[in-house]
């Protein structure tokens, strides 16, 4: 439950020790990124891979000989290795919400900045309907690729995600944040949300999620345009504006930043080891992609 979230910090810290054998380390004079609240840039972002989507692409490409020899047509579509997440997600896979996004997309997510995404989604839709026998063959080929060409990184490499979340959750409970949340709640009264939560972090509320279709699943692989109503735009803009006017967005950002700086300093050596791993792995992924990728259409 939500109360359990504060356990994250302690567990994550212990896990970091287990992962690297280090408990402390100097910051080694590492430079912090430039603060950017609209993109929610954080000190730990640099330790979180921004290329996860390429791993599946690389493995699928490398599987083609195996799949073909088994009698399957396995035409992996070309993907742009520089394709972006779109404006709603930052490089560290954090979802963004600010007045600019609210004005255009409400609470929905903006489409990705990736022209190769539609072809991949169609490919994925086809793959999702494999029979169990086909699925088993696919996994057999995947195992072969992982053994010979591109093994997966261990799940523990995602520790910086947990550390970021621990910092965020602590920031939500910081005194300036809680005071600002009260102001936000007052600011939002005219919007008339029947189940307005006590913190912007819990928006959109369940009634709004239902009303705005945020719980729906898009079943059309070619339809990337979110359906945003004027009612959603109105509430979302009011919400984003109140987060600014109340000082809540700035309070959370600054508090999380401070905590991440401390985390970075306390675990610099360990995080540097993770950084080396993800940097090295990125090179391997790109090498596999370059060896197998089809020609750009």
């Amino acid at each position: 439950m939500r109360g359990d979230r504060f356990v994250v910090g302690a567990i994550a810290a212990l896990a970091l020790v287990a992962l690297t054998g280090c408990s402390q380390g100097s910051d080694g004079g590492k430079e912090l990124p430039t603060k950017n609240r609209s993109e929610w840039v954080m000190p730990l972002d640099d330790y979180i891979p921004d290329y996860w989507h390429l791993v599946d692409y690389a493995q699928d490409l490398a599987m083609k000989p195996c799949m073909t020899s088994a009698g399957y047509q396995w035409d992996v579509p070309w993907q742009d290795v520089d394709g972006g997440n779109g404006p709603s997600m930052n490089a560290a896979q954090r979802k963004l919400f600010n007045p600019e996004l609210a004005k255009q997309w409400g609470y929905h997510e903006a489409p990705k900045d990736d022209p190769s995404a539609p072809a991949w989604r169609i490919f994925a839709t086809q793959a999702s309907s494999l029979t169990q026998a086909e699925h088993d063959k696919l996994y057999s080929c995947l195992d072969e690729v992982r053994k010979k060409e591109l093994p997966d990184l261990p799940a523990s490499i995602q520790l910086p995600n947990s550390l970021e979340q621990a910092a965020y959750e602590a920031a939500l409970q910081a005194s300036p944040t809680l005071k600002a949340a009260e102001k936000w709640e007052e600011c939002m009264q005219p919007a008339g949300v029947s189940d307005l939560p006590g913190s912007p972090d819990q928006m959109p509320s369940q009634s709004l999620r239902t009303q705005f279709g945020l719980n729906d699943v898009n079943t059309d692989p070619t339809d990337f345009a979110p359906k945003v109503s004027t009612a959603e735009l109105r509430i979302a803009q009011a919400d984003a504006q109140c987060r600014e006017e109340s000082g809540w967005a700035k309070a959370v950002y600054d508090a999380e930043w401070e905590r991440q700086v401390a985390t970075l300093s306390q675990n610099a050596d360990s995080l540097s080891a993770i950084k080396r791993q993800i940097t090295s792995y990125h090179k391997k992924v790109l090498k596999v992609v370059n060896a197998h990728a089809p020609v750009k259409p």
Partner: protein
């Protein structure tokens, strides 16, 4: 989570019985969308997936029972079960934007912030699981054919995610 619950074995996707009056619109394995004939079937026998119930897992897959090929699955307790029943899960082939609209198959237990084990048995992508609805909050990634039988500990996925998951997406939809 939490104490064990009373469970019966059916899959949510094939049944209904949603919490909070939300009607999930998750697609099922068969309800596709114009499949082009890219996958030329071999002559191998097709294992039955009927009514959301998987008969058997293939030799190449270490997936838990009742998490069929093509799906990512969550359970309310550790070791890929809910109150000892591995069929009592929640699964998706694309994404679930808010687990609060779902219950573990055959139960009344809401899926939001109750998962203690997860598995990605998907065909195409890694799966991402988030603490808040619609990709909000912290996330972790599970590659294909991997899972975490105990989100309470720090083996596998780093600790801190037990009883917190609120949405899940295959990377294609992430």
């Amino acid at each position: 989570m939490v104490a064990f619950r009373t469970i019966t074995a059916t899959t949510l996707n094939s049944v209904g019985g949603m919490a909070n009056g939300v009607v999930p619109r998750q697609t099922q394995k068969g309800d596709s969308v114009s499949i082009r004939n890219r996958f030329v079937l071999g002559a191998a026998a097709v294992l039955a997936v009927a009514g959301g119930t998987l008969v058997a897992a293939g030799p190449a897959s270490a997936a838990p029972a009742y998490c069929p090929g093509g799906y990512a699955c969550t359970w309310g307790d550790t070791n890929w079960a809910t109150s000892g029943n591995s069929a009592a899960n929640i699964k998706f082939t694309k994404y679930i934007p808010d687990y609060s609209g779902w219950v573990y198959a055959g139960t009344k237990t809401n899926g939001a912030e109750t998962a203690s084990s997860v598995f990605n048995n998907g065909n195409q992508d890694a799966a991402f699981f988030y603490k808040n609805p619609s990709k909000g909050g912290a996330s972790f990634r599970l590659t294909r054919n991997t899972g975490d039988s105990n989100l309470h500990d720090s083996s596998g996925v780093p600790g801190g995610y037990q009883d917190t998951l609120s949405s899940g997406y295959f990377d294609t939809y992430n």
